[in-house]
């Protein structure tokens, strides 16, 4: 499956959280990381809408920085949420592989 096809399956919010799992990151770096991860080319309009939603949900927060680009990072809730979603995905993958008899 191509990266482009993967991006259709995975929620963009999950992509942002996964991109932030590696550590604090600012908008431009996130845009590039998400493209690298999934092939999805998002713009700043999309990204900051997602960041606002995730921040309001308490899943990410800003990191104080002297740079003009303020990085964001996962909160404890965000990390727990991402782990839960990845575990769900793992279970789904296991079931799918079992039903398709993939070793």
């Amino acid at each position: 499956m191509s990266k482009r096809a993967i991006s259709g399956f995975v929620s963009r919010r999950l992509l942002v959280l996964t991109a932030l799992a590696g550590g604090p990151s600012h908008g431009y770096a996130l845009i590039n990381e998400i493209e690298h991860l999934s092939g999805t080319r998002i713009g700043p309009g999309t990204l900051y809408g997602l960041l606002a939603d995730l921040e309001q949900s308490g899943l990410i927060e800003e990191v104080p920085s002297e740079s003009r680009r303020c990085p964001f990072q996962l909160t404890a809730s965000g990390r727990a949420f991402l782990i839960e979603k990845l575990n769900e995905a793992d279970r789904l993958v296991a079931i799918g592989r079992q039903r398709l008899a993939i070793p």
């Binding site: 845009i31 713009g43 700043p44 309009g45 809408g49 939603d53 104080p64």
Partner: protein
Amino acid sequence: MASEPRQLGRMLQVALRVYPKWWRDRFEEYANEDLESLLADGRMPLALAANLAFGAVSVRLSRWSTDLRRSIVGLAVLMLTLVAFQTVHVATPSSPYGGAAAPQNSQFAVVAVCPMGAGTTLMISHRTADHFPAICPSRNNRRSS
């Protein structure tokens, strides 16, 4: 916004102004930085402006209550149905040359433009300044120093 003058295209600046005030206070400075980098990477300004415009509409709609959004969507569907009915099923007078005459453009325009105008007015007049009052702590420090 206390950001320095930027060399962004006018199209992008206009697109950024479509966002609500709370969003601009919160994210405009960062978005400006990202836009400059993306333009330097060779991204098309038109695509970025379109992305910003869609993002602005999405941000504005996301702050509305579910009931209001449903009402607007319902109204839009109703109006689109009326437009479709108007253009497809309403008989148009015969042309003196034998074929069908042009659709009744003035009525079509009224039916099509009114809901768009009402929606745009609602969107622009909606005040969401009390959302996300906090800004980046580092920006707070910079401004106070």
